[in-house]
Each structure stands twice: as structure tokens, then as C-alpha cells.
């Protein structure tokens, strides 16, 4: 066989085998901040320890995880491991790692509290682990408050008090808005529950919006009409498109921003020493001051050809020392029970604002209401989140009166639930 023919044969064999070579693991990953670099570093270390396994990290945009990965999964394709946030809806596609990890009990002990968030109801599989726990909450631009001579409301302050204070800062400092909440149904659910909303019906399906839910939505739309809630974030899209308000806060266009703990690294990196900022937790309503817990998980995909190798990679990344290092370098709150209980996390940042915010968010977990804690494991949560966003945007844009959107939200959610429940 001459050289050219040998090369051609080798190429064809390589192409044919590329999808499922033993020792090949592909991980689909998105980043909010620097976690992609940290993960690559950890994987390099894993490959040094396990030279027979090659892990390829595919860094993709979050939109790919939300829009393209589901289609790949539905067709029985996809990566071997993926970092996802839509945990419950796609639970049927996750690989049960029980037979592939070294010590399933270690997994159940340290990550078991969140397994129900990412596995089908009544299932006992080990689907993966949370790369970080998140909690929704607010941030305030301390410098703007100080320059305006406005005192920041203290612990237990209500949404109204925070918005009032932020409005005084807006007027004094001529900022574009007083505050912003990310355009996301998930983000406004915490405040709605704080107002006393009950989103889950007796049959476990979404309940029609109650007075408390309507009260917060009405208030939010009114704040938008009055120019307090920065209009651009919610109004500049249709559908359920997620739009964060982080850039507005980073550019000091608003003194108050409601998002979540995952923004800490982003704010720290982009704000630098431009101004001082603090985490304020979740302002209160009549029922409480809750944020909504959640996070991103690393899951094995059940269509993998190399489940043993996937198990080894997952075992490595779930190790206590690795989880600790990952959390410290990425500034994420860890989900590993052992790491949390041991304490002593040394978050690697020189930014005092970021350090203080991380510590503050650990404290805010004590204010999570049971109704909020149940949301990540509720299979209809996404139907509720998605059903609200578009209609609230319509009310903010002036297309519909706020009292008219409630019936539409209820019917949209009901249609979505009915569609989701249709099975063959």
C-alpha cells in the first residue's frame, strides 16, 4: 500500500470512528464569566491523571444550551456531558450515573439534596451534580447612593422602600432608571412569592394567578410606566427571550439591579474599581423576603457511547477538593454538602465587593421560603416562567392594559401545560 492510500484509509477510519471512539468525551459548556477557563484547566489535570481519556470542552453560547441542545437530545444525539440550567424539563435525557461512578453513596450524600431538581418525578437516578447553587437577589451601587446622599434601606426593607430609595438616587444622579430586573419569569417569581403568591395548584399544576401575584405584576408595570424600572430591558423583545440588566448596572445607568448570585464574578470583572457595589438580597413583600434558588448542573447524557469514561470525568469533577477549587476560582456558591459544611472557602478575588457579596449570598439562603425552594423541582415551573414574560412586556409596552394580561397569562400557561402533557 503506498503512502497516499495509507493516509486516505487512516483518514476515513478516523472520520468513521470520530463520533464514538473509546476514551473520547465531549463536554458542552457555557460560561457566565471565567468558569470555562477554570473547567479547561481542571480537565487538563484530569487528562494528565487519565491519559487514556481525552475530554474535549466545547464552549458554546448559553443560547445554544437553551435552543440547540434540546433538539440534539430529542434526536438521541448530543455531547457526552453538558452544563445545563433547564434541569427538570429535559430530565429524561440524563444518564443515570449510579453504575458508572465509583461511590454512588458519596454522590447521594453530597449532592442528593438537588437530585430532584434534575431527575424525573419519583426517580432515584444520579443524573449529575450542580456546578453551582444560585440564589436570585439584588445589588446596589453604593457609590451612587452615597453621592446622592440617600441611605440604603436596611435588612427587612420592602420592594417599595428599595424602589423609593433608588428613585431618589435616580433623580439626584440623573440615571436612566431607578432599577432593573432581568427579563425572565424566573427572576420575578421570587418577588411574587415574597408578596404571598401561590403558583402551584392543589393538583400540582399551575394555579391561576392569585391576588398577590397580580399585585406584584401590577406594581412592576406601574414602576415601568413611571420610568423607575428601566424600560429597555423588558420592553426590547417579544416572546420569552432572556435579557439581563447587568450591563445597565455595570454602566451605572441604574443604582439598583435584581438578578442573582451568578452575576458576582461578572460584576466584579467588569466594574473593577469603577464604583462600590453591595449585594442586598431580596427585598421583602407581605409574606417574606425570598429569592429563588437554582443553578447550573453538569449532567451526563444518556446517549453517550462511553458511559464509563463519562463516569470517571464526573467522579473527578465532583471530588471535594476539585469542587472547592472550582468554586473558589469561579466565585460560585458550591452545592457540595461536604464543601459547604467544612467552610473556609477562600474565594480568589481581590475585589472586596465581590468577597462581601459572596458571603452575603451565603447568608441570604436563610431567607428562602419553602414555596421558593420547591420551584426548581416543579416540572411546570418553566411553563409559568415563560407564560408571564411576554404578557408583562406587552403591558409595559402599552399594548395591553395590565388587568387584561392576567387572563391571557393564565390561558397561555394552561395551553402550555396541556401541550406538555399530551403524550402518545
Amino acid at each position: 500500500m503506498n503512502r497516499a492510500r495509507m493516509l486516505a484509509t487512516a483518514s476515513v477510519l478516523a472520520l468513521l470512528g470520530a463520533g464514538a471512539q473509546a476514551g473520547e468525551v465531549r463536554m458542552m459548556w457555557y460560561s457566565d464569566g471565567i468558569e470555562g477557563e477554570v473547567m479547561q484547566d481542571l480537565l487538563n489535570r484530569f487528562m494528565e491523571e487519565n491519559p487514556d481519556i481525552n475530554v474535549t470542552l466545547d464552549n458554546v453560547a448559553y443560547q445554544v444550551i437553551m435552543e440547540q441542545l434540546p433538539i440534539q437530545l430529542a434526536s438521541g444525539e448530543g455531547p457526552d456531558i453538558a452544563r445545563v440550567t433547564n434541569l427538570k424539563e429535559q430530565a429524561e435525557h440524563w444518564l443515570d450515573l449510579t453504575d458508572y461512578v465509583e461511590d454512588p453513596e458519596y454522590w447521594r450524600t453530597n449532592f442528593g439534596d438537588q437530585f430532584d431538581w434534575m431527575r424525573p418525578d419519583d426517580s432515584d437516578i444520579i443524573p449529575g451534580f450542580m456546578t453551582q447553587l444560585t440564589l436570585t437577589g439584588g445589588f446596589a451601587n453604593a457609590t451612587l447612593f452615597e453621592q446622592a446622599g440617600v441611605a440604603m434601606p436596611g435588612e427587612g426593607a420592602t420592594w417599595e422602600e428599595w424602589v423609593e430609595a433608588a428613585t431618589q438616587v435616580q433623580e439626584s444622579q440623573q440615571t436612566a432608571g431607578a432599577f432593573s430586573i432581568d427579563r425572565s419569569g424566573h427572576r420575578i417569581t421570587g418577588p411574587m412569592i415574597s408578596y404571598g403568591a401561590n403558583l402551584v395548584g392543589e393538583d400540582g399544576k399551575p394555579a391561576p394567578l392569585d391576588d398577590a401575584a397580580k399585585a406584584f405584576i401590577t406594581q412592576l408595570v406601574q414602576w415601568t410606566d413611571e420610568g423607575k424600572n428601566l424600560r429597555d430591558v423588558w420592553v426590547s423583545a417579544a416572546g420569552t427571550t432572556y435579557i439581563p440588566g447587568a450591563d445597565e448596572f455595570i454602566n451605572a445607568n441604574i443604582p439598583l439591579y435584581y438578578s442573582g448570585s451568578w452575576q458576582i464574578a461578572n460584576l466584579s470583572t467588569k466594574i473593577g474599581d469603577a464604583f462600590d457595589w453591595v449585594a442586598i438580597g431580596s427585598p421583602c413583600g407581605d409574606a417574606g423576603c425570598t429569592g429563588l434558588p437554582g443553578g447550573a448542573a453538569l449532567v451526563g447524557i444518556k446517549y453517550t457511547q462511553n458511559p464509563e469514561d463519562v463516569g470517571k470525568v464526573m467522579d473527578f469533577l465532583a471530588r471535594e477538593d476539585i469542587v472547592k477549587e472550582f468554586s473558589e476560582r469561579t466565585l460560585f456558591l458550591p452545592a457540595h454538602k461536604g464543601v459547604v459544611e467544612a467552610g473556609g472557602l477562600n474565594f480568589q478575588t481581590e475585589d472586596p465587593s465581590a468577597k462581601a457579596a459572596l458571603e452575603a449570598f451565603v447568608g441570604f439562603t436563610g431567607t428562602i421560603m419553602p414555596e421558593a425552594n420547591a420551584m426548581p423541582a416543579w416540572r411546570y415551573a418553566n411553563a409559568v416562567y415563560g407564560g408571564m414574560v411576554n404578557r408583562i412586556s406587552q403591558a409595559m409596552a402599552g399594548e395591553m392594559a395590565v388587568e387584561d394580561i392576567f387572563a391571557r397569562i393564565d390561558s397561555d400557561i394552561a395551553e402550555q401545560v396541556a401541550a406538555a402533557d399530551q403524550t402518545k
Binding site: 434526536s75 416572546g239 418553566n382 415563560g386
Partner: protein, 332 residues
């Protein structure tokens, strides 16, 4: 002494070899099936590609539109008959989206209809005026033609992003307005301005292509007609009305129909520019289908498929109109 082999002969050698190699089977095929068989054979590759990438997906889409649930495989999806069509077409008053069961679909239809009307009208007029100007003996005529055609070469996503940077709250447009002492405008968060921006950007992006079609039509008009009109002392407006416009009409009709088809399909640049907002002011049909089928947290591919079939019906009518007009102008 043998003559040196020319470069052309070297280049065409493989083709000549291929022609010789295929000559025998093709001749045999022609003897067997006649001229019709040869036509079919040459059409086969194109028809196969068309079938695989257009007809088969169309049939699958049609089947999809009669199924429900969130599963992607047809075999896993329950049959719901015409439920999705019934939901989309269930309206108290088709002119009032709020009276419809799926009001978002009818908002998208209404927005698309308004967009098509304004975009086609403005673009045809702008392309016509530009073509008339470029048809004159201008200095640097080639440069100006390139300037107007350049946006056509850009990716729609790039077009959307460029204009978003210009029109957003702290964008270039407002920077200039503030510099001039004017109040900044919410180009993308005011319902009217956002719609105007979507139409304007689309016109800017596609006008060059239609200008070229009209320019070709203008250059095909015999010069002696203009010379005769000039000798008669006909006024320029009358020349345009009586000579240019009637003779340009076939090209103009093609431009109108092609731009109609393109406008009904509007998605990418408008989606990047406004995301369909503010509210749903610039949410068009294709975005509705995309949102329902792919972007929503709970997807409904069956409903999206039904909406796309309804949209395909509109496009088929427009395409038939274009074919009819093309044939009619060809016959003349």
C-alpha cells in the same frame, strides 16, 4: 517535432476524459429511453436535492402540524388532527387579534401585513429613484452602484447588529442628537419608531438588489424613444410617465413580487435589531414560528408547524403570482 501542449488543453483534459467515459452509458440510456429519458436523467440530481431538502421536510412538517406534545420524533407524538389549525384560526374578529384564541399568531400576521405593505412600497420607490439616478451620466457611476449594492452582501445578522449599535438608547444616533442639542429618541423601545426602524433597516439592506434589476430594465429601454421625446419637447415628468414607467413595468412587477415574498419571510435582521419588541410591535410571522417551535421554555413544535404551513400557503400564492407575471412579461 511535436507541438507544445497548450495550457487550455491541459485544463480540459480531465473533462474530455470524463466525456469519453460517460459517452457509452449515456448513449445506451438515450437509445433505451429517448430524449425524454435524457431530460429526466439530467434533471434527476437537482430534483433529488429539491426532494430531500424541500419536499420531504414539507411533508414531515405537514405531518408534524397534525401532532401534539413536546416530543420531537413523529413516532412519539400523539395525533391531534386539525387542532392546531383550529386554535390558530379561532377568532371572533380576524382584524382584532385580542379576540383570537392565539392572539400572538394574529399579532404576528397583522405586523407582517403592515411590514410587507410599508417595506415593499418604500423599497420599490427608493429602488426606482436610485435606479433612475444611477442610470444618468454621473461621475463615479460604478462607485455609486457599488455603494448601494454593498449592504446586500452583508449577513442579515451583521445588518441587525450594526443598526442596533446605531439606534440603541446610548447608540450613535442619539449621541449625534445630543451633540446637536436635541432630545434623544427611544428608537428601539418606542412602538412606532421600532417599527419604522425595522422597515428602514430592511429597505437599506435589500434595496441594492432591486435597484440593479430596475437599472437593467432602464438600460434596456431604447434610447431613440427618449431622443424622439426630446425632439418633441416633452417635459421630463411626462417622459417618465409615458415612456420609462410603462416600459419598466415588467421589471417593476418582478421587483414588487420578489420583495413581497422576501418581506413576508422577514426574520433575521428584525429579530437581531428589535427582538420583536417593544412588546410585540415588531414580532413577525417567522419569529412567532421560531419562538413557539424552538425558543420558548416549553416548545410546541406542532403548533409552529401548523403556523408555518399557513405561512407557506401565502408564499405559494405569491410565488405563483411571480411565475405568472414572469411568463406574461416573457410572452410579450
Amino acid at each position: 517535432m511535436r507541438p507544445a501542449t497548450s495550457a487550455g488543453a491541459v485544463v480540459t483534459a480531465p473533462l474530455r476524459w470524463l466525456a469519453r467515459a460517460t459517452d457509452v452509458p449515456l448513449s445506451a440510456w438515450q437509445r433505451l429511453t429517448g430524449q425524454r429519458g435524457m431530460i429526466a436523467l439530467f434533471l434527476l440530481p437537482n430534483m433529488a436535492i429539491f426532494g430531500i431538502f424541500v419536499l420531504v421536510p414539507l411533508v414531515i412538517n405537514l405531518l408534524y402540524s397534525t401532532t401534539g406534545g413536546t416530543e420531537f420524533f413523529l413516532s412519539d407524538r400523539p395525533q391531534v388532527g386539525a387542532d392546531h389549525y383550529a386554535r390558530l384560526l379561532d377568532c371572533g374578529n380576524y382584524l382584532d387579534p385580542n379576540s383570537c384564541r392565539d392572539d400572538m399568531f394574529w399579532i404576528a400576521v397583522s405586523n407582517t401585513a403592515r411590514f410587507v405593505f410599508f417595506q415593499v412600497a418604500v423599497m420599490t420607490l427608493a429602488a426606482l429613484i436610485t435606479a433612475l439616478i444611477l442610470n444618468r451620466a454621473l461621475p463615479g457611476k460604478g462607485f455609486w452602484r457599488a455603494v448601494f449594492f454593498f449592504p446586500v452582501l452583508l449577513s442579515p445578522v451583521v445588518v441587525g447588529l450594526i443598526w442596533k449599535w446605531i439606534l440603541q438608547r446610548q447608540g450613535l444616533a442619539n449621541l449625534f442628537m445630543v451633540e446637536l442639542g436635541l432630545e434623544p429618541v427611544n428608537w428601539l423601545t418606542d412602538r412606532l419608531w421600532a417599527f419604522v426602524a425595522a422597515v428602514g433597516v430592511s429597505v437599506w439592506a435589500h434595496m441594492g438588489f432591486y435597484t440593479l434589476i430596475l437599472l437593467a430594465g432602464l438600460q434596456a429601454i431604447p434610447r431613440d424613444l427618449y431622443e424622439a421625446a426630446e425632439m418633441d419637447g416633452t417635459r421630463p415628468f411626462r417622459v417618465f410617465w409615458r415612456i420609462t414607467l410603462p416600459l419598466l413595468m415588467p421589471n417593476l412587477l418582478v421587483v414588487i413580487v420578489l420583495s413581497l415574498i422576501r418581506a413576508v419571510q422577514i426574520f433575521d435582521e428584525a429579530y437581531v435589531l428589535t427582538g420583536g419588541g417593544p412588546g410585540t410591535s415588531t414580532m413577525f410571522m417567522t419569529q412567532y414560528i421560531y419562538e413557539v417551535g424552538f425558543a420558548n421554555l416549553l416548545r410546541n413544535p406542532g403548533l409552529a408547524a401548523a403556523a408555518s404551513i399557513l405561512m407557506a400557503c401565502v408564499l405559494i400564492v405569491l410565488t405563483l403570482l411571480q411565475l405568472y407575471l414572469s411568463r406574461r412579461s416573457g410572452a410579450k
